[in-house]
Symmetry: C2
Subunit: 336 residues, 2 copies
DNA sequence: TTGAAAGCGTTACCAC
DNA sequence: GTGGTAACGCTTTCAA
């Protein structure tokens, strides 16, 4: 593990006690400015690098914030991650990231690993977890923040939105513009719980508007991609000709579907409206631009960061833990 | 930090010594199967969670692999990350990730933070670093692997490819198909060193083919997006009409550019060929599909994982450190 | 196969 | 403003 220079060595080199070295490396500690400079120089001469493990161990404070994300390659989760990082700038918190690939078993593995590092708090993307995960979290009594969902049985804090509710914005818009026969294009399985929620939201909203049953089209196992969207359209062209609108689980899927529809000679939105979800860049750059839902991924990161600071500072730790609800918005594009 | 159950408590509960508990939690250690079961039950009863910080501290082995990535929202870096994670499955290594936003100063901050956790090794995406970063890494004597580049002055191990060389595949293809007047669309600044290398590669290859000077079109500060590509085309339509081909720094930029070109009534590839870089999904789904370079992001992750295992196991640590070179390939699409 | 003792590098606590 | 002492929870080392 490289160098073995410790505070002891720096202390000797600087002619002070290890305690003074320790203080010199803290922001606020009371150390004479001259002494601090002396220590700093000694440390530089010896190539001393602070040992955060020893600090964590002694101070019983890890400085880690555990975070799980379903995917690393997703503009929305990336935006939440970035906003969270920015909101925590100035603290000494370090993110410890686990990518779950939308799977609860992988989430469980990561949570186990995270807990062994004694994080100050844990942020879980999504509100669906294994029993073992819930058990571990409750035993450790670590503050938990679930984001990107409004779980019916939250573990602790929540910063999220209703995926089903967001989809009703889309269906309201379609119904209002005279589209009656809707299709939904999403994953085959329910690995991605948020995708499943969106499907449920579409069905419910359609029924509320008195529209015929929504035609469910399957694009393969989650997470579904542009290509999956295109392939699904190729496979279901016959059924699609009878529809007024195709509601897609995400913008990439919507884009893939749109490309395939155009290849098959269908005009969007003339023959068929298409909608996406997530306000990905592709939605504004595609031709036609895609009607979509902006879920406020960045806002989720901001609010989560603020909540983490509060929780760790001890404020609000024992509050009512009322879920923080973010309001998604409809971004109307040319595709509907 | 939650529960305070230690091995001591588990030992008392199970009626054995702490040492036996410690051994029971290791894979290979020699513990009677019955004893181990006893310990496991006691641990479960008490809700004991292993403390990796204490282990790290005592064993002087962190189990961390430090990794920096320029961006979290990029299919290629995500693929490298995923492949690296898979290649390290079965080890007890935990990735400690730092996102640099393509900036050496942010990389320096992350490296400083990573080193304080005493990682077993550090993987840096990109071959360009601040002096302070290089200094810290050399002082700590931590194994370093630079990936996604072939640095002229590598710190340690290297798994990468030549960005300039990859671009010559594109220019060779364009020259062969009769395109003579080339433009390059990329970032204004050189924050993204790999983008700058690609630009250099295009210029050199064009000159080698005896083509006229490459027209440089600027799409704004790195990283450049779909929208940046589209905006740049809007801004430079006059110059573009004189070109045979537009070489873009990445697939998203190429797609944005293509959308804008079509809006302006230019036909791709009839009036103008367009090429991208990175084999993003958009390249195969766009219409027309985009000619691009597959850099082998996954292969980089695989090879890096294998190298990390070797380096940590002590094998190859003092080898000649010959750079591992990955060979990018041209994927011809309909856009050229 | 199991146990006892020592100590990893830092900081909380108390003294001056 | 500075220093001495003890301790955080585990594993290395040695002994039984």
């Amino acid at each position: 593990m490289g160098t073995k220079v410790t505070m002891r060595d720096v202390a000797r080199e600087a002619g002070v006690s290890p305690m003074t070295v320790s203080r010199a490396f803290k922001q606020d500690a009371s150390v004479n400015a001259a002494t601090r400079a002396l220590v700093q120089q000694a440390a530089d001469r010896l190539g001393y690098v602070y040992d955060a493990t020893a600090q964590t161990f002694r101070a019983q404070r890890s400085g880690f914030l555990g975070v799980t994300l379903p995917s690393i390659n997703n503009a929305n989760f990336a935006a939440t991650h970035r906003a969270l990082t920015l909101a925590l700038a100035g603290t000494d918190l370090q993110l410890l990231l686990g990518i779950t690939n939308y799977r609860v078993d992988e989430e469980e593995r990561h949570v186990r690993q995270l807990l062994a590092r004694r994080p100050e708090a844990i942020v879980l993307t999504g509100g669906h977890h294994s029993d073992a995960t819930r058990k571990m979290l409750s035993v450790m009594e670590v503050p938990v923040i679930e984001i990107w969902d409004l779980p019916s049985d939250p573990i602790g804090h929540v910063v999220g939105f209703s995926n089903a509710g967001a989809m009703s914005l889309v269906v309201d818009h379609l119904a209002t513009t005279g589209r009656r026969r809707l299709g939904f294009l999403g994953a085959t399985d329910d690995t991605d719980k948020r995708g499943a929620e969106r499907r449920r939201g579409v069905a419910e909203a359609a029924s509320r508007h008195g529209l015929p049953d929504v035609l469910l089209l399957e694009a393969g196992p989650a997470p579904v991609s542009m290509s999956d969207g295109a392939r699904a359209v190729d496979a279901h062209m016959d059924k699609l000709r009878g529809l007024d609108a195709l509601v897609c689980v995400s913008d990439p899927v919507a884009f893939g579907a749109m490309m395939a529809l155009q290849r098959h000679g269908l005009c969007v939105p003339g023959d068929l409206a298409v909608t996406g979800f997530g306000a990905f860049e592709i939605a504004r750059v595609a031709c036609p631009t895609i009607t979509t839902i902006d879920v406020g991924a960045e806002t989720i990161g901001d609010l989560t960061g603020a909540l983490v600071r509060d929780v760790i500072a001890g404020r609000g730790a024992h509050h009512a833990r009322k879920p923080v609800e973010v309001r998604p918005g409809l971004l109307r594009g040319e595709s509907s």
